[in-house]
Symmetry: C2
Subunit: 316 residues, 2 copies
């Protein structure tokens, strides 16, 4: 498998991207056949790779002289900077030269690139992005959508539930993953119009192990492997949760659980529902995040997650 990595994306690129590659190769790659396609400005990355003493058999550099900045307008930048690492990555993915594409660069450009270059899987109305949510008991759950679908119909939430369940099963290794609907009350019939209309669809869906509504107070309690909501509430929850780690750091609170709200360490989020693996990282990604994103890409390929999604949506 060939995993494409944008070496120029993120606030600490290319240094941290190179360190992440090294970390991956040193700690994980011996057990795999992953070949890394490192996309970026060769003059910037080649010396760093040489310094890191990365064996040439493990990677190929694809030269991409341009960089899309973190604050550039996504559509405009992608159109104008055809030689950028992000544009090049999507080009390689489209043409089957890589099997997955990872970037911690301009999130908007990554979204635009995904939706323009890579098709949604047949039957998927709205691809989605998710976040892991750490549980107090040590494990973690998946919340989706967290921001790209801020207005949703009930059917969209049902599809997020299916996508999330498949991800939980194959990547998070949960047997028969439980799914809950984020809501403002526990009983059926509670909530806004969207939640009220979504509940019976989730309850009756044969592919889902639906366990009912979940309130904000139980998001971190491990009551469900997968929690679905529209992307507005999901994004607010994600960013509020992220701020907990900052608060812990600022207040010098040493707590292993609060450390787990450092989302940077999780790597990135895959765009679920599109026909090829695309993983979007945080702008602040450091080496561990890059390593974890490469591992995630590898897992998505190895578990054939996208084929499972394809089958699932075909059978509907």
């Amino acid at each position: 498998m060939r995993i494409g990595l944008d070496m120029m994306g993120g606030d600490f690129a290319p240094q941290e991207a190179v360190k992440g590659v090294k970390l991956f190769l040193d700690t994980v790659a011996t057990a795999t056949n992953a070949h890394l396609v490192l996309i970026g400005d060769e003059q910037a990355i080649a010396p760093l790779i040489a310094d890191a003493q990365i064996a040439p058999s493990n990677f190929t550099i694809v030269h991409a002289p341009q960089v899309i900045g973190m604050h550039e307008h996504p559509t405009k930048a992608l159109k104008e900077k055809t030689q950028s690492s992000i544009a090049t990555g999507f080009h390689l993915l489209q043409n089957g030269k890589i099997d997955a594409f990872i970037s911690a660069g301009n999130t908007g450009a990554m979204m635009v690139g995904t939706f323009y270059s890579i098709k949604a899987i047949e039957g998927v109305q709205r691809p989605t992005i998710s976040t892991p949510l750490p549980w107090v008991n040590g494990s973690f759950g998946l919340l989706l959508d967290v921001g790209i679908n801020s207005d949703c119909k009930p059917e969209n939430l049902v599809q997020f539930a299916i996508l999330g369940s498949l991800y939980a099963k194959h990547i998070m290794k949960r047997e028969n993953p439980t799914v809950a609907l984020l809501n403002i009350g526990e009983e059926e019939g509670k909530g806004n119009l969207l939640a009220q209309a979504t509940y019976p669809l989730l309850k009756e869906h044969p592919q889902l192990n639906f366990v009912g509504n979940i309130e904000g107070r139980h998001i971190l309690n491990g009551k469900a492997d997968v929690i679905v909501c529209e992307g507005f509430t999901g994004n607010v929850v994600l960013k509020l949760a992220e701020s907990l780690h900052e608060i812990a750091v600022k207040r010098n609170i040493k707590d292993e659980y609060l450390d787990r709200f450092n989302f940077e360490t999780y790597g990135g989020t895959p765009v679920l529902g599109v026909s090829q693996p695309v993983i979007i990282g945080h702008g602040i990604s450091e080496a561990v995040a890059f390593k974890n994103m490469i591992i995630l890409a590898q897992q998505m390929i190895e578990t054939r997650l996208l084929e499972k999604i394809r089958e699932s949506f075909k059978s509907k």
Copy 2:
């Protein structure tokens, strides 16, 4: 002023309600002319009041032999238990026998009672409930709506902003309080359809000091005195925030800031936009919460908050 208090409401009533009354009278009341109207089963509360050595001049007991349980159906219970403390409280409020009504009892019954007994202020489409959100810097902000208006129109959010601003000015003592719109991006034009349509209305409103969008990551950072959103997202945020205190306790994290997520200590939320002061407390309210709710009722009466709201909505 006569402040009515449901002595039977809440998980720890009537003991904690009596303790709260005592605490209020011992620490606050000498500076005020508040007379407390204690509503509940006289046989249950009179001995506790005697034990607490509360001076008879400070209170009047209104006997209400029935209690609405925390899990009873609100409408049914209110209809059938006309001699309950909640039904009696609203009856007294309607007839001008008390100037404010406080209860930590069945929240649904309090909401139903409020909307059936007490009218909305003219011009207010949707009365609202709020929560204080502790800031890392020590102070706190106000988030509304937090659950009774889960589907909103842009005009509703504008009204929440006005109600919140008046509350922030008169009760929280903020000069020209800042108002932000909870959103999933900082720039105008971001967000779901509701947020997109609400932004320009807030921006152009002459009564509001609107400072733009606020993302989940900045909710706890003190960027705005008042944050508005529909009650679905607001309720999820409130309950997630509440769970932080539980997590801190469970993990034995000693931190003054996380302690402030113990919402019980804040007392209760007023129903803003109705024509008389109604304050709804947490079911788990203890003495401090009862004391704080009595103080809040007193402040609402003293500052003539409801008249300010009336004037504000009249001038529109």
